[in-house]
Subunit: 263 residues, 3 copies
């Protein structure tokens, strides 16, 4: 892949930033592995008593609420408060926001209280942050929220509104990805459908985004775009290899991580 | 595999049911991935405050007690109570029942209190529910509990007794699988030994069973049988592919998930 | 691999010991799978109310603090106390000790209070136990702590000091591995760099070590060395296979588990 010559990835591998991840139990292994594969170093500490230590050590913080409970909620709040105080960039992955009342209110409370550098989410989740929409589709994006040629202008406006409201970058994933800081919007039309047939693609993109942002905290829009495009290209590569061996979703997952590590 | 033409699988893929899973930390990723691979949509919410929301959204609920603790116990009880109220089918995977006093009493308390649609378990666990037997073998079935030609009549009677006692289907996994509602008993003699050499085969079968039951809540016996046979056939396919590349248990695991997604 | 004829592995597979693992959420699936692959049987119970039952059933106990929190801390303490009372061998994997104040103090408190059979850790972690050193590198070993020809004498002395202080075996992993009981020190120079490019190699080695120690509790030095050399040889095999298919880190992980199961 062309990414072998990409300056952002080279930079990341030279700096090997530490990323403190509060993420979910379902995909925590994938997130740690993709952060290692791209050249960064993951720490997955979860204890509220350790947040200060590890957020201080880290160059970026990932908060993914996939399997939140009271304990992880408090740890996340400690991490967000500490990141704000120490000016660490934060990537927030509000998994399932809009599907559960509790997590919806929690995420909004967080966004009102603490700065976030990038919100990485699917279109249904961004809609939930935008208009208090409620989805009936669990943690995957609803079909009605798909981003394509027809819906792009509307979806981009929606993402830009959320970015403006919360003074952050919004990286909205889907068949087409929209990355926006409210004024400038970038669209990435790469990637493959198989990325949505395994669990954790979004979570892994959150981890990658945190790693890229860690090395370019002053350019979060570009860093989030780089992470998205990089994963999409790796997904395309993985799909080619999967097809070549007539593989299924587990093969695709392995080839995806392989591609990140080999880029 | 013949399953490409299977009506149950086609139906599942058309309906894409949502399955709310309370499962264990060891195999949660595998369970989410197999549910996606078969065509359903997993939600792995764990917070007691979210059980009402996600059980309401879901078409089936999976409760697997592999790594229970006080927090997940209370969440599971909320899920069971909510599923009972909303008439959602429940698949219970009583991992390690009989090996630990606490989980044994807990599962019996649950079964006395809330309806369960399918109990998916190995023969040692079913024995523990049947006769207060205590195993010394941890979470794997004891050799003495193996189901084979000789022991089939006795084991079937045991499983049927448990099904009758708790008014549910019992899907007892092993070299031979017995699926029974107390009056009718089906035996599945497919599958391969390698399925017991990776962690999570039973948990994945629990997830698959919930997905199949979600689309046929009124025929839980047939749905549980379909899920079992489907995974066994996928296991046979995976074993063939593993042998072909002289692979080990990790290859088998990947080919198993591949087979489910490709069927 | 020669290990097919290794007496320690043969013995392990004949005995199929049960290993009770309190380990971290990131790599718990890998740890369970490697324990199964080597021929032992994992139990991953986490509930403090179950520690007595499962430590009693088990032939060895693994405590890995990667994602400790208050709940798992108390469960670990119950497991350590119970293992001490019942004379079960304990393998402690003090992930990230030295990087977080809380876990550093906790591990020292544990080591002062309960016997541990083997401490399995990287050189930065052993340094933290040796001289109250603080690392800034998260959970991976700092480059300054690398074990090589030049630093071997000093690092061996450091590991031996810790072994002597806590009356246990120290298995210090790195490019070169040092296994020592304070008086006798063994060095293993096998393995490949890729082992540090995936998450969980150290955790898996902790699990393997517990399985080997379970079958030879009176020879923990040799058992820890066997586990280390075995995983290193499997790593070399996995690297060869990964190279042959131009694979990346996910392929390596799968080949590593394959090699363990095929040995």
């Amino acid at each position: 892949m062309d990414w072998k010559r990409n300056a952002a990835l080279k930079n990341l591998r030279a700096l090997r930033p530490l990323v403190q991840c509060l993420t979910n139990a379902v995909t925590v292994n994938d997130v740690a592995n993709i952060i290692l594969a791209c050249g960064a170093s993951p720490v997955m500490a979860v204890d509220i008593r350790e947040m200060e230590d590890f957020v201080s050590l880290a160059q970026a913080v990932l908060v993914n609420i996939g399997t939140l409970d009271e304990t992880s909620e408090h740890a996340a709040e400690a991490a967000l408060a500490c990141a704000a105080r120490l000016a660490r960039p934060v990537v927030l992955d509000p998994v399932g926001v809009g599907a559960g009342k509790y997590r919806t209110e929690m995420v909004k409370r967080w966004l009102d209280k603490w700065p976030v550098t990038v919100i990485r989410a699917n279109a249904s989740e961004i809609r939930a942050l935008h208009e208090n929409a409620v989805t009936t589709k669990g943690v995957d994006a609803a079909d009605a929220d798909a981003v394509n040629a027809e819906t792009l202008p509307d979806r981009t406006r929606m993402a830009a509104d959320v970015a403006t409201k919360y003074h952050c970058v919004v990286a909205m994933s889907g068949a087409w990805d929209v990355i926006t800081d409210g004024s400038q919007s970038l669209v990435c039309r790469r990637g493959v459908p198989m990325m949505s047939r395994i669990t954790g693609t979004g979570c892994m993109l959150g981890g990658l985004t945190a790693a890229f942002v860690a090395t370019r905290p002053a350019q979060p829009l570009q860093a989030a775009y780089d992470a998205t495009e990089f994963l999409c290209l790796c997904g395309e590569e993985a799909a080619r290899k999967t097809d070549a061996i007539h593989g299924g979703t587990a093969s695709f997952r392995n080839f995806l991580l392989d591609a990140v590590s080999l880029a």
